[in-house]
Structures are given as structure tokens and as C-alpha cells.
């Protein structure tokens, strides 16, 4: 379907498609098998200016919006969402700086990311603070001209690989939601280390580690925005980033339809290619219908979000749920269409099905997303 993209958006799609076809697809199985971080691929993404997409032009970026990053992530996700997650997590890591950082901070941290020289990570989750972000234990205390950070972040994407980390810590527990703040921690800061790489079911090309702060000292000016505005910035960050996760779902969905339909044309049983059987056709048709419906919602949500509307949270949650549930369903069905071959590691859909699962979990579980949509509906209809 034609979504009437602008000329610039077509360029983003072309570049991301070329990286996906030439650099990601030929290497994805090996990266998955070896749990290997795709440093070379990220370097070529940097060279192609993909990291510059969400960064404002005054800091060397492209000044792109939500739809621009969605288009890039959809293509990358078609190749491997492990690789694409490393890319997406860097964008997530810099959003708090884009949203709330000072001009000086933006210059210092956004410029090298736009140039593809450094990338970022976002540290929110902890052992006791997943869906419930109010359970955060990590603290930051001002000590003279320095902040003293203590605590441990868990399951942080790009841990040990990123150079720039945005980290949420409690600065005043008595103030509840207004007691959290965001800090920039750099690789090599005293008292900061990363744990060993976690062993995961899917997205194995991405790196996931703990971030450990033991009397970690950072300069006073590493506070992002004002003290106590951490949660608000986190919420705004996630509202902007969730359509990107939805886009990864679109990428997997498209790859699964492509793989399953191609296989069904070639595979002959009972004297016919299996695509000639209605049972298989219906599976493929449902996959294609759900994919296209999700794409329409994700693209229009992303465009809507670019206008910074009041109902941003609701729309962003809606598209995340739809596209990622679709990715799980469509990847499972792609394995079904391909039967025993689909279950084997020689074919890519087995990995896609393992990878798809994380999309329903990270950046807010799909249950939490439904809560957001439900609560917004509750609010809307209370006013009527």
C-alpha cells in the first residue's frame, strides 16, 4: 500500500533497506548463534546517518520525527530485531536529553551520537521496578559539586557497549513521583560498572546487562532537566519511543509474510505447491491482513504523535500493543506454514518467533499498555 511518504522519508526507507539487505540479513544467524554484538553493523548505520534521524539539526542531526524513526526501525526489524533493538535503545537513551537537556548537554552528548561516533542506553528498570516504576531503589545524593549514585539497574539494553547512559534515580523519596531525576552517566565514570551479558531467548545480537553504581561520582551538571522531573521525562520519552517498538513488530511481520509466502509457493505436497491449499492461503491471508492493519495504525499514530497531541500516551500504547501482538501471532503462523522446516534453525522464522516475544514485554508490557489505554478512556468518558 502507498502511504504517501515524503521524498525524505523514502530516502530513509531506501538507506535502512540497503543496510538491512546487505549488512544485517547475511549476518543475523551468526550474531544470534554466537550472542554477538553487531559493532560493525552499527558503525555502518552511523556512517549512513541513521543515528542522526531523531536528533535536532542544530546538533548535527536530521531533525526527524516519530514517523521517520519508525520507517527506519521497520526496515531494520525486517532483518533482525536484535540488531534493531541496539539501534532503538540508543535513540531511547538520548530522548531524555532531547526532551529535557540543557543546550550545553545536548551539544556534548547529541553531536557525537548524530555523527555515529557514540551511542546511548536508557537505565530505568530494576529488580523491583519493572512495570511499577515507583519501586526504584537507585538513589542520587548531591555531595558538594558531585552527585553520588548508588543502586543497580537490571536488563539494560546496550549495557557495556554504550558510552552514554541516561539513568533514573531517586533524589527525594518523600516526594513520590516528583522525587525522581535523570542523570547522564558516562562509560568509565568512577564507581560505575556493567554486569555480565544476560543469556536471552531472542534478540541475542543485542547486549543486556546490569548497570551497577557503587558510590558512583558524577559532576553536578549531569542532571538532565530540573531535579524531580525524572518521571515526567521518562513518560514523555516512552510515549515517543513506543511506536518504534511497534515498528519492529511491523518489520518482523513483513519478514514472516515474505518467508512464509515464498516457502508456500515452492513447497510441494500432494502434487501441488502448498499455497494452492485453502488452509494455507487463509493462514497467509490473515497474516497479511493483520500486518497491513497494524502498519496503518503505527504510521498514523506516529504522524499524530509528531503533532504532540494531548492523547499521545494512549495512541502510542495502542499502536505498540497492536503491532507487537501481531508480530507474535504472525511469526508463530509463519512457523506453522513452514512446518518442520520452520522449526529448524536453518530457516529464519524460528529466530523471528523467538525474537518477537520480547516486543510484547519490553518498553512496557502489553498489559501495561492496555492499562494506559483503559485509564485514558476512563478519563475521557468521565468528562462526557
Amino acid at each position: 500500500m502507498d502511504y504517501f511518504l515524503t521524498e525524505e522519508q523514502e530516502m530513509i526507507v531506501d538507506i535502512a533497506r540497503q543496510i538491512t539487505d546487505e549488512k544485517i540479513i547475511p549476518n543475523r544467524a551468526e550474531l544470534d548463534e554466537k550472542d554477538e554484538f553487531p559493532r560493525e553493523i552499527l558503525k555502518s548505520m552511523g556512517q549512513a546517518d541513521l543515528f542522526a534521524i531523531p536528533i535536532p539539526e542544530e546538533y548535527g542531526g536530521f531533525g526527524g520525527g516519530c514517523l521517520d524513526i519508525v520507517l527506519a526501525l521497520e526496515q531494520l526489524g525486517r532483518g533482525c530485531i536484535g540488531v534493531a533493538t541496539a539501534f532503538a535503545a540508543s535513540a531511547l537513551g538520548i530522548y531524555p536529553i532531547i526532551i529535557a537537556g540543557s543546550d550545553e548537554m545536548k551539544k556534548k552528548y547529541l553531536t557525537p551520537v548524530a555523527a555515529g561516533e557514540k551511542f546511548a542506553a536508557f537505565g530505568l528498570t530494576e529488580a523491583n521496578a519493572g512495570s511499577d516504576a515507583s519501586g526504584i531503589q537507585t538513589t542520587a545524593v548531591l555531595d558538594g559539586d558531585e552527585w553520588l549514585l548508588n543502586g543497580t539497574k537490571q536488563w539494560i539494553t546496550n549495557g557495556g557497549e554504550a558510552q552514554i547512559y541516561t539513568v533514573i534515580a531517586i533524589t527525594d523519596r518523600s516526594k513520590g513521583a516528583r522525587g525522581a531525576s535523570i542523570f547522564v552517566v558516562e562509560e568509565g565514570d568512577p564507581g560505575f560498572s556493567c554486569g555480565p551479558k544476560e543469556k536471552k531467548m531472542g534478540i541475542r545480537a543485542s547486549s543486556t546487562t546490569e548497570l551497577i553504581f557503587k558510590d558512583c561520582r558524577i559532576p553536578k551538571d549531569r542532571l538532565v532537566g530540573r531535579k524531580g522531573t525524572g518521571f515526567i521525562t521518562v513518560m514523555k520519552t516512552l510515549d515517543s519511543s513506543r511506536p518504534g517498538i511497534a515498528a519492529l513488530g511491523l518489520g518482523i511481520g513483513q519478514a514472516c509474510v515474505d518467508e512464509a509466502a515464498t516457502y508456500a509457493k515452492q513447497r510441494v505436497q500432494f502434487g501441488k505447491p502448498i499455497i494452492a491449499f485453502q488452509a494455507v492461503q487463509h493462514l497467509l491471508a490473515d497474516m497479511a491482513i493483520q500486518l497491513e492493519a497494524s502498519r496503518a495504525l503505527v504510521y498514523s499514530s506516529a504522524k499524530h504523535i509528531d503533532a504532540h497531541p494531548k492523547d499521545m500516551s494512549k495512541v502510542s500504547s495502542m499502536c505498540k500493543v497492536m503491532a507487537t501482538d501481531m508480530a507474535m501471532k504472525v511469526s508463530t503462523d509463519a512457523v506453522q506454514v513452514m512446518g518442520g522446516y520452520g522449526y529448524m534453525r536453518e530457516y529464519p522464522v524460528e529466530k523471528m518467533m523467538r525474537d518477537a516475544k520480547i516486543l510484547q514485554i519490553y518498553e512496557g508490557t502489553n498489559q501495561v499498555q492496555r492499562n494506559v489505554v483503559g485509564q485514558e478512556l476512563n478519563k475521557e468518558y468521565s468528562r462526557k
Binding site: I12, I15, Q47
Partner: protein, 259 residues
Amino acid sequence: MKIIVCIKQVPDAKDVRLDPETNTLAREGVQSIMNPYDQHALEEAVRLKEQLGGEVTVLSMGPPQAEEVLRQAISCGADRGVLISDRAFAGADTWATSYTLAKAVNKIGDFDLILCGKQAIDGDTAQVGPGLAIQLEIPFITCIQKVREADEKHLVMERMMDDGYDVVSVQYPVLLTVVKDLNEPRVPSLKGKMKSKKAKIEMLTAADVGADAACIGLAGSPTQVVDVFPPPPRGERAILTGNIDEQVEQLVAKLATYL
């Protein structure tokens, strides 16, 4: 550093057919791409520019639509695109092409280094790079597989040989032809693509470069293609199966039919 990269637009090798009437390459409806070897030449030129500073000019001889590959080169880091295009160039062999490119290079002006792909995947002659160097009266080194050192004065490189490689040190000006082992070409960048859209491609005709009409196109070509034909089909082949004794038996029976 002033670097010129010669680039040819060629039909995509995945899609090559011969026109049965004329026995020439059928170009209608065939996707055109930048000659793959030239992509490696361009990548090395852009890397040298990033390392040493300077300017990369891409030069192509071809029909007006060859402008596309020059824009593609700009999106990958080239600064300036020059297309030499004239109906009078049609049918040029490698000598006439080398002559014409040399005229265009002289028109472009100063250069330190010229990079070419080892050969184009359509003609497969590997003669135009060296031919251009001869016309320009500069040294050339073919089949570069690695640049070891580069500075403003000289280059140290590896030249691919049948067994192993030679290490060659050379001063500018020089023309190099490159093989695919040299590097991995980059994907165009977003900023490069936007620049390439707006870039003005300089168009040169035979008259613009002062080419002698007797040295260009089919008329100026010392070689003429008399005939092009597909290789004869290979003979019948069969794979024998079974254990060794059975296979030997089958083979002997088969050979006996030829007696």
C-alpha cells in the same frame, strides 16, 4: 588530495541477456547499477579523502542516464560529478574510451590520484584503466587489494598476484585499478542522499573536451566487434549412482556405446 574516480553504469549482472537479432547486450528493461568494482574504487577514494582531506570527483562516460550513478557516488561521499556524454562516442572500444576519458580528465584539471575498478562487468576487458594512464602519460598499478599507508606524498599498497601479492610504493600522480578485496563499500548516507539530489552534474560533450573526431566512437576505434555468440551448449552429462562396482559397470556399458 585531488582524486578522480572513473565510474561506469552497467546492466545488473543478475539480469544479462543478449539481443538475439543484434548479438549485443539487451539493455531495454534491464536494471542499471554502478559497476561493482568501481564501488570499491569510490569507497577507497572517500576513505583517503576522510584521512587526508581533499576532493573526490567522479567521472563517467555514457548516455545521459549515467547521471544516476554519479548522483549515487555523491550520496556515498564524492564531491563533484562529471558526465561526458555525446552521441559521437557511441560504439567506442577501449582505446577510444581511454582517449575520451583522458580528454575529460585534462578538462577537469589537476589531480593526484585516479582510481578505477579493475574492469567493468559488462565488457570485462580490464583495459580502460591502464589505457587511460597511458593516454595521460602517468604510471599505473592494477589489481590493488589493500592500501597499507597513505599520505600527501605517496602510497604503499598491495597488488594482487596469482600467488600472494606484491607490496608497491608509489608517488603521485598515479592511476590505480582495484579489486573487491580492497574494502567494503558503504551504504549511502542520509545527508549524502540529500546532497546528491541537489548536486549539479557537469555535462561535457566531445567539443567541450576538444576531442579529435577521428579518435572517438565507433569510427575512432581500432577494434570492431565482428560477431558475438553464446558458447556452444555443453554435452550431455549424467551422474552415476550405486556402489563402486555398479558405477563401474554402468560406466563401461556407457563407454561401449561410443565404440
